[in-house]
Symmetry: C2
Subunit: 427 residues, 2 copies
């Protein structure tokens, strides 16, 4: 029985847990793969750091040489970033190795090209860990739902922003305070941009939409809005109507099946929806399919051990494929569906306006909405000393129509301020 050889690129939070659990679960891995698996080498930037439990003789600083080795069956890429990771993965493919990656940014940006290269060399590219950490999501979408038609994927796929919004909700903290706490507890990085501006979630949305709808969704086709503009007042306003605010990734297929959309933005979610109960840094993803109905997948979306779990699950699959002399499902994009822009996306909205207290203000506001084809579902008015606050929720309307209505409202004499405009999901 031959031994399969693994090259590990990167030995940080994820890489070191991959090494640790690979040793710890060695007997199970052997049984499940049908052959033993061991490291050919572990490539790091600094060889002399202490790495408890990682055999020193495996450490190398020459990743380029490692991925070219003829005895390497599988390369696990856990270095992150895009250019260097792409080059190493491509070299690995060219030298006959399959690749397991946890790199959402890379896969979202260059998944199509990487899949093509993998296919050309007859090897596998797996990346379950790139979306929602340990939560099995890509394999269920690709394989379990392979006999069904997915219509919608709606989820919380970024733990950092969920932690921040959760703290704002439960403590009444403002964004800056909650971000500081997230950083202190290690949930937010020193530069939190990728998380709080929605880049991380957008990469995951692009990957999810591509697999769910079997089409290509480029990163620049994903509408992206982060949480930096969410205020404590927004959270209070959401509470007042029985909602919480979550950063959602939403991927939808149009009713006629010819187009899809993918977007990331804060949204109000009713407390009765299971996503509202997802606390802290957890991830949860709803999947709706024609025959299956609504499914939900929930679990830790990040962290060394959960990511290692997903990486090693892929490792077993890739090793099994290799022993059988086959490759797995591969690139899912066999359709060329249109990716529609955000302007065409239809959602409910919740708005708060400050208007002058005169009679007739509401009538004028209602007229503006009517002119833009926006129907109001609920409405409440709160008197203040110097005017009124109007809280309104709309029936589903396109983003374009709603935006045009908001521009028109801002021009009205009676409207002092459009305080808040937020989309509503999960109703």
């Amino acid at each position: 029985m031959r031994t399969l050889k693994v090259a590990l690129l990167g030995c940080g939070v994820v890489g070191s847990d991959v090494a640790r659990y690979m040793a710890r679960h060695a007997a199970d891995l052997t049984a499940r793969i049908g052959a033993p698996v061991e490291f050919a080498g572990i490539a790091v930037r600094q060889a002399d750091l202490p790495r408890p439990g990682v055999p020193e003789h495996l450490i190398t600083t020459d990743a380029d040489e490692l991925v070219k080795r003829a005895d390497v069956d599988v390369v696990i890429e856990a270095i992150g970033g895009t250019d260097r990771a792409r080059d190493l993965i491509t070299t690995a493919f060219e030298h006959g190795a399959s690749v397991v990656s946890a790199n959402k940014a890379l896969i979202a940006a260059e998944g199509a090209a990487l899949h093509a290269t993998a296919a050309a060399y007859g090897v596998d590219l797996y990346y379950e860990a790139a979306v929602a950490g340990a939560v099995p999501l890509l394999r269920p979408l690709r394989e379990s739902l392979a006999g069904d038609r997915v219509t919608r994927v709606l989820g919380i796929v970024n733990g950092t922003t969920n932690f921040i919004l959760d703290r704002m909700d439960s403590l009444g903290a403002d964004y800056a305070q909650a971000l500081k706490e997230a950083a202190t507890l290690g949930y937010a990085e020193a530069d939190p941009t990728a998380d709080v501006e929605g880049f991380d979630a957008a990469a995951k949305a692009a990957i999810l939409a591509g697999i769910a709808f079997n089409t290509r969704v480029r990163l620049d086709e994903v509408y992206r809005e982060g949480i930096t503009a969410v205020t404590a007042a927004d959270i209070e306003n959401a509470k007042a109507v029985g909602c919480v605010i979550k950063l959602l990734a939403v991927c939808e297929r149009s009713a006629d099946g010819s187009s899809v959309t993918a977007r990331v933005h804060p949204a109000m979610v009713p407390l009765s929806h299971p996503l509202a109960a997802v606390r802290g840094a957890f991830n949860a993803v709803f999947v709706e399919a024609e025959a299956a109905g609504q499914l939900m997948f929930y679990g830790p979306g990040a962290g060394g051990a959960p990511t290692a779990s997903a990486v090693l699950g892929d490792l077993v699959a890739v090793c099994r494929n290799r022993l059988a002399g086959i490759t797995g499902p591969g690139d899912a994009a066999y359709q060329q569906l249109t990716v529609s822009p955000m302007a065409e996306v239809t959602t409910r909205h919740h708005l708060i306006l400050e208007v002058a207290g005169q009679p007739g203000a509401l009538a004028e506001v209602a007229t503006v909405f009517g002119r833009h084809g926006v129907s109001i579902e609920t409405f409440s008015q709160r008197q203040r000393d110097d005017g009124c606050a109007l809280a309104m929720s709309t029936y589903p309307t396109t983003d374009a129509a709603l935006s045009a209505a908001v521009v028109a409202l801002r021009d009205m004499d009676h409207v002092r301020r459009v305080t808040s405009v937020i989309r509503v999901e999960g109703t």
Copy 2:
């Protein structure tokens, strides 16, 4: 490109939806499999029933002939029951066909033998639909978590009993009323025994434990207790301590990994636990693994369309394997772990006793618990005209110790009645 041929056994609720979705999703199935797939025949008991959307020329009453046909690649078994289904599946294997089944009773009873026969003939046996309907669970356990070590599976895997308990909880209905409503709405069968006595959930627990722990768990090794003895008072008592009652399937690996347990019984679950929020006929399963942490899978656990979704997902996998000339993961039981009896299972318990009002009664009760090694965590006493009701919850204790303590309590002069004893999970 060759066309793969499918024989469908049974065209009832599940079978007819399999036929319907296979036609509806034909183009996607072809793309995902890499070859077209079509029916060789559909075996039914009565040929002359109306079956809208099912091509008449495919209908046959000769299932035995159908599964022997040389052109059949995959047999989908949707007839249920054990003996006849086993014989047909075995014949299919012997004639070179792979099999997709939704039959939990059969797989739980004869999965080992069927896997052995499938392996002997170099074909596949898949049955994702047998547990939790459309919810991807067996594939994630088998494949996504193949690099991890599952320690616990805890879930609601029977929709009928969850519907009944949910109605008892939300309406204060008693068991008989709730069962009647379930029957009226089609959630309970004319003979509800398999569901309400826990046989269905026990079959699923045996399958789940086997796959989660890579060992053989026989149906008679699963402890089984149904919901027929759950009273409206039990539900009220649970509410009083912030819990709901759910019928749970619980599969656990011992801390040292050498033994496992599998059991089905009603249990109190705190409202704060996600399983408490699973309403109606939905299923939800928590999976705990060493590296992944806690994952949850949620969705419709039964019904024609959800079951068809799972069956067709398996069909795609089996067809892909067939085209590649391989078989899938197969029998998961590479370990021979001991299955410990219920007496050795450790859980918390909640008890209610009626005792005479004399001073000293509590001391005597406490002494009995102490003598049996059962520690009380919380305790409350409610005065009544003719005595007291004691509500107690214990620290984790073995079933054997708790049972012995209850026997001793029943013998005490001061104890008039042990009103309720129920296990507590998810704390």
